[in-house]
Symmetry: C2
Subunit: 418 residues, 2 copies
């Protein structure tokens, strides 16, 4: 019997529907499964009632070969996914002594005692295969029949992901036996979605064997080519990806900063490490977010020497050596101050490059001459400096994120040109 | 005719199912709608085909009084939500000249021309009420009949949210005529979900008139009481919330840092502003994230003077005055270095308080004596300093986030005690 959908996902939890928590599973699982060539055809979020869970499982099971649920395996009384899944599949629940012993040991190792609530976590639908959980106390499980596999996984990402890697990924690959779908991502900045689509859309979308997505974000547009599930075996995937890259490069130059999955910070990281060059960062309106973004990546200490978050005028003078006269005459948000900030951090950190941001993030602080969104982004190197004046639109968070991205891109543009 | 569900949400987009983008709408809309006393009963994510969209709309329309869709209104050929909704409701599409003129004007104001692709954005199901979009080019729309209202909103949050505020919120309140549901949030840190549930769970869960959720995150557990939809009119909501607060306070002390919606950074922000005190931040392993978190909040310049992201030993000496001997003798990750960092940033920023982080975020850099996850968190004030040694578990990102939160909590604990 063949079903129309590969995989459906069921996210369990009132907290998702009430907005107490954002879902992190759909995007993560969607990407992870694509690596096995299979796609989530549909996802649902349902509340914490046995009926809602059972109904969703029944519906998805009728359409999909594999159903994955996340959440609702914890120790509280509203953690009832096991009951909903068992009801949907017409199975009873059975106590598993080894799981209970593992839970008791988990708590004992932390000097605590497992509670009666935890005992529920050792109950599984009859015939379920238990998928251990080294990270917490809620094991997942799988129930398999001839044309349906249901994986039931815990909600905390730090618990769900290791179980997926250890016990779900390989089984899914086995069930479908697919080749991974080829995905080509091109990351751009400084051009809007509409402009991209109207100038390049048609030429990109005719890429043979691919489905094309344009994914705009606050800081740019990603162009993603995903191999069409039914692409012909002889589709010229390699050469089509190269054609699209050339098209984007010819029109956008350094605004195309990545062919792959790296963030702009990741690209800059790799360039600086390879060149054995170093960086200092002076942030005003971005408040530390450039430093945070760069140091998210392991190994940043190879090039990232220091950051100065100089929110006050006094700290711009003390930490970066910006002249009192510059601040008095031109103001903190000015080309002159930005220039001195970039040079200042480069000098004090002893780095190859210094980058700097100063601007008005809003919502208050704007004037007619210096409106909210006005930013100066600076880059200093031995013997030179480049400062760019920009006006970002949007709210405080958008202005800050665009400024942080824009300053990193200045450095990328400089590195890419040499 | 009465339907079982208030509202269902349909998120449209292959990019959600392929993990190219994380959904941001469910949590935001769930919270926003709860303020009108109505709940999203179920949410679905579907791909970019007319059939999938139409099927989801039909299913949700059968169960819910209001259906909201997001996404798929853009200018590209896979933006087909309008077609799917029209098909589900058995309506044709009609061209709306005023919308087209607004789109043309939007582009003209930016020195560009609307394309033929944009023309699709001026097509709406017959009888639809158009919901303008000042932020972009994709207007939303609503289709209303006696027992069903379908709101069709654009995908970019910066476009969806203003339309929701301007045209959806009030109409939904009118349709349901509900009182807002009371929500009481208690935010805690330093206690795990299992421990919280086993020690306090039973006493909290008997809160009369409320549904209780325990929401664990990397940095703590939120306890959320949401008024039960069918709570008796005389349920003692006020006194029950006070009872739960006292219970948590008695057991947790300052580990309960908020009754309300503020983040820990927001609580610290308000305390410092009210006391007219100031702060400097010295970050090593957290890389700027404390500065970033604090300056996310408008008005941070009232107390946040400066941050130093001292990733290298040299910058710890130069920017914070950490003694060369301290670094040589005890190492960068030590109580002694953390103490000098906290004092150093306090002194150089001229602030009331200095906080500092140093530690090993991983995945590499750990040793037997100083393993990955070992962190020192410091707080310095006039005449005193407190340094805490902690060992965080988890991956790099988890260690960094826990360290940033832990350092802010040190400051909160100090401020709350006085």
């Amino acid at each position: 019997m063949s079903k129309p959908n590969d995989i459906e996902l069921i996210l369990v939890g009132d907290e998702l529907l009430k907005g107490e928590r954002s879902d992190a599973h759909l995007a993560w699982l969607g990407r992870a499964l694509l690596q096995s060539g299979v796609r989530i055809a549909r996802a649902q979020a349902v509340g914490d009632t046995v009926e809602a869970i059972a109904e969703a499982v029944r519906e998805s099971a009728a359409r999909a070969r594999v159903v994955i649920t996340t959440g609702g395996l914890g120790p509280t009384t509203d953690d009832i996914t096991r009951d909903g899944v068992a009801a949907a599949l017409g199975l009873g629940l059975a106590f598993d002594a080894p799981t209970w012993e593992a839970i008791v040991a988990f708590f004992a190792a932390r000097g605590r005692e497992a509670s009666e609530n935890n005992r529920r976590q050792a109950m599984f639908p009859e015939g379920a295969r238990i998928l251990g959980n080294a990270q917490g106390t809620a094991p997942g499980f799988a129930v398999e029949s001839r044309d349906l596999t249901v994986f039931v996984l815990p909600g905390p990402p730090l618990e769900m992901r290791p179980i997926f890697e250890a016990a779900v990924r390989a089984r899914v690959a086995e069930i479908f036996g697919r080749e991974p779908l080829r995905v080509e991502t091109f990351r751009t900045t400084g051009i809007g979605e509409s402009q991209m689509v109207s100038t390049l859309g048609e030429a990109i979308e005719k890429a043979d064997g691919y489905v094309v997505s344009f994914l705009p974000s606050l800081v740019g547009v990603d162009v993603v080519l995903t191999q069409a599930p039914g692409a012909a075996a002889d589709a010229p995937l390699e050469s089509e990806a190269a054609r699209v890259e050339k098209l984007l490069r010819d029109h956008l130059g350094a605004k195309l900063y990545e062919h792959g999955e790296r963030s702009l910070a990741g690209v800059v990281h790799d360039l600086l490490v390879r060149r054995r060059e170093t960086l200092g960062v002076a942030e005003s309106l971005t408040g530390g977010s450039i430093g945070q973004t760069l140091t998210d990546i392991p190994g940043a200490s190879a090039y990232f020497l220091a950051g100065a978050v100089t929110y006050s005028d006094a700290s711009k003078r003390a930490m970066l050596g910006v002249a009192e006269e510059t601040l008095a005459r031109y103001g903190a948000v000015s080309e002159e101050t930005c220039t001195e900030m970039a040079h200042g951090i480069r000098r004090s950190a002893g780095a190859t490059y210094g980058i700097a941001t100063t601007g008005i993030a809003g919502p208050t602080g704007g004037t007619a001459k210096k409106p909210v969104g006005l930013c100066y982004l600076g880059l200093a190197w031995e013997g030179g400096c480049h400062v760019k004046r920009v006006r970002y639109h949007g709210e405080r968070d958008a202005v800050r994120r665009r400024a942080a991205h824009g300053a990193l891109w200045l450095l990328y543009d400089h590195l890419a040109a040499r």
